[in-house]
Subunit: 483 residues, 2 copies
């Protein structure tokens, strides 16, 4: 059996931190004279009480470092428990979301997905709107920390390619993040503040600007407006948010290196290059379609294509208009975009660009080897050969992603959702994107009217996708709990 006490100890600390975060919307709500400030204080109290309880009850075990299995349990448990406690304000506030909707909204927030079940955001108090943004912002930095510090050591889905030499031979969690954590946090804060400032300068109200900045850098996608970013009808705002979403999907390790004065590392990174190339290709394709087939002006088409393609490619989920009205090619393009995602070590979801780099290299070498069967052609990433260990990890990851996608789609079909809604909402949940296709879950709809079972399936899908599948699935293997 796995000794859970050190896990619960850490969880206690995290819950206490969550309680502190709840005081931010409480203060803002009180300052706005909103009705829900007491709700946040109450939620913070409950969360703090449980957090301190867990902390005190397990403090004897607290000093020991986590082993591998405890790290797996902690990772999944953290996101589930925080998802549960962070949903309290949604249930208690004037919105009075039921348990299902509150958990869905919270999970969609912390996984930086951005699907919402609130059909009328005008009815939400400022505190609730801010809380949604804070959840995404915390979820964003949380996933960067996890991708940089924990997943490479857990060897999840080929992530071991990002291990440093020092952590190579250890099963204990010696966070590589310590070396670079401060800079990454600074980059995250700087981008968030810069985004908010730029949006204010471009004419967005301060409150909206802060919320949109947090949701942009976290590639989350929760807006303060029902029409999302389209509400503001300002080209400059769309360009600015597109830029910060793009940066949010960029590897933060690379951006930290840029901040430390070494920009070459980022520019030479295969993953970053292909991230730029694939987004540019989709923008070009959708722009051309809009000009040629819909007769839009080039600059107008370029702006709307850039904003919405970057939004879906970085798995943010902001929309500036209903792109499902643009015709069949863009719809197909947006469907495939939900699978690719951003760089690893960013706030973006999806399969991640580095896995496609490895896949592409393997496929290219295969074609080469067909002509020269006896020349051994090893796949490479960033000009280094990839070990077969990594290739198997990546293959296994694609397999589990595909199976999860198929099972989730079938489950949603069993809930009665039509094929386009099932396929696209399964894909967007696993990729932490936000909008799907079709009238219900599409860019112009909300998830409010889905059946309860579908909401739980999608919540599970969002967590599964965010935690790179294996982190969760390994807990369901009997072997994990043995000995």
């Amino acid at each position: 059996m796995v000794d859970l006490r050190p896990v619960l100890f850490v969880l206690g600390i995290l819950l206490a931190t969550l309680a502190a975060a709840m005081l931010v919307p409480a203060v803002v709500e009180a300052a706005h004279g909103g009705p829900d400030w007491g709700v946040f204080v109450l939620s913070a109290g409950v969360t703090l009480f449980v957090g301190i309880g867990l902390f005190l009850a397990n403090r004897t075990a607290g000093a020991s470092a986590l082993n591998l299995r405890q790290a797996f349990v902690l990772t999944t448990l953290t996101w589930m428990v925080i998802g549960a406690f962070a949903s309290l304000p949604f249930m208690l506030s004037q919105l009075q979301l039921d348990f299902t909707d509150a958990v869905f909204e919270t999970v969609s927030g912390i996984t930086t997905t951005g699907s919402t079940v609130i059909p009328d955001l005008d009815a939400a108090s400022p505190g609730i709107l801010l809380w949604r943004a804070v959840l995404q912002w915390m979820g964003g930095i949380g996933i960067i920390a996890m991708a940089v510090a924990i997943l490479p050591i857990l060897q999840v889905g080929g992530m071991q390619i990002f291990r440093t030499e020092s952590s190579d031979k250890s099963e204990k969690i010696k966070p590589r993040i310590q070396q670079i954590a401060g800079t990454i946090l600074k980059v995250y804060l700087t981008l968030s503040i810069a985004c908010a400032a730029v949006l204010v300068v471009l004419g967005m109200p301060v409150f909206d600007a802060v919320c949109h900045a947090m949701a942009s850098v976290a590639t989350g996608g929760f807006s303060t407006q029902d029409a999302s970013v389209g509400h503001f009808r300002t080209p400059g705002i769309e360009w600015a948010i597109a830029l910060f979403m793009f940066l949010g999907g960029t590897t933060f390790v690379g951006m930290a290196q840029v901040a430390q004065g070494a920009p070459r590392a980022l520019l030479a990174d295969s993953q970053f290059r292909w991230y730029c190339i694939y987004i540019a290709a989709f923008v070009a394709m959708v722009t051309l379609w809009q000009v040629a087939s819909e007769g839009r002006g080039l600059f107008d088409a370029l702006r709307s294509s850039t904003f919405n393609v970057v939004s879906i490619a970085t798995t943010t989920g902001f929309v500036s208009e209903d792109y499902t009205l643009w015709g069949p090619l863009p719809i197909a393009a947006f469907f495939f975009l939900t699978f690719i995602g951003g760089c690893t070590g960013s706030t973006a979801g999806g399969l991640k660009v580095f896995r496609f780099c490895i896949l592409g290299s393997v496929a290219g070498k295969q074609l080469r080897q067909l002509v020269h069967p006896h020349a051994v052609a090893l796949p490479s990433f960033n000009r280094r050969p990839i070990s077969d260990d990594i290739v198997r990890s990546v293959l296994g990851f694609f397999c589990l992603y595909g199976m999860s996608f198929a099972l989730l789609t079938l489950g949603l079909g069993a809930c009665g959702l039509d094929i386009v809604t099932s396929l696209s909402s399964a894909a967007q949940a696993l990729g932490n994107v936000g909008p799907g296709l079709g009238q219900i879950v599409g860019p112009a709809g909300t998830f409010a009217t889905l059946p309860i079972a579908a909401k739980w399936l999608l919540s599970a899908g969002m967590l599964l996708g965010r935690l790179e599948l294996l982190t969760v699935l390994v807990l369901f293997t009997p072997r994990f709990w043995r000995r």
Copy 2:
């Protein structure tokens, strides 16, 4: 450069054989007093003339064995050239299909896909109906020969796992098929005759029985009736055809071993077992749905589910009713079925069950390795460890299949097809299935009204899928033609 003379020599022989095959519908048409017998004689004459020309012009090179590159060129060129000449009767007959439609129908036939552009089969002469069945039947035995004899040596997409030891170190094509070819051909003939006999006993007219038997064993799906097998409204016929489609999707090497008195080899084969398991799982799921959600009787639901699931799983494409009216879960199930396919070494298309076995083994070992990072857990197939070479081949194959699927879908979207039609018809073309989803390409529709560009894209997709992608794609690499 590649010396094409031996390739053209073999092609000449194959065209002469095709010309001989054209005389079968000519005779049947004449016997029925149909209008098109002269068309088949004329087409046979043209084909024979070109075939003999190629044979004579290249006979000096004919004696030499083919090298690897010539084998690649021959494989792709054979299917293209036969597709072109076999389409002559469609253009010349009273149906007067245009060039696009004739090529589409022919390619759909020889790749055993079964998509049709003929909206009214009653207007087709008996000769044309028989020719469609003959094309599928020849395509079926052709693909078995290719999968057993050629692809393993070309090392296409992990097929090298099926190489015998003797062919291991040779770049020359020493067909393994010679050892077992006779038995496989006997099995193919026996199944075809048995199927036709059973169908006649069950009350199907002899002509329809022969055509349906050929299209069943070849997992092709061309029917003589617009309503496909549903036309006959006979449960026994549906069960019988389901059985023969299932056998058509079973590895013919295994069935040949059964015929040689060694049934254990087939029953112990992982691929065959998972082929049975996955089909049974989908039948159970769709049956349960029909009983629980649609209120159908259990036996009625079991029959209709079995027939249509087996038809799509084996990539045949016969339909007994419009299963897209059964509701969202079956629709999603039929969509995913178009990707899986049958066993390798069968007439079925799709990604093939053995690739999913390898994928599943790799994924399972990954989950295991997460808990024990230092225990090396190699994936296996049929209780033997799989070399990393194979794992890379399979990964590369999935990558190219996914990319082909995405590009084909985007291309069809650019032709103006809606998202369900684009996704499902791209999937069914690559998997050589037949029907897609939606009103146009669904089980109740035909491909007749698609734009011309879409028909060419789908024809290319069918050939690409049938030839396991790599065989075709390698011809587009500059390296192939160098030196």
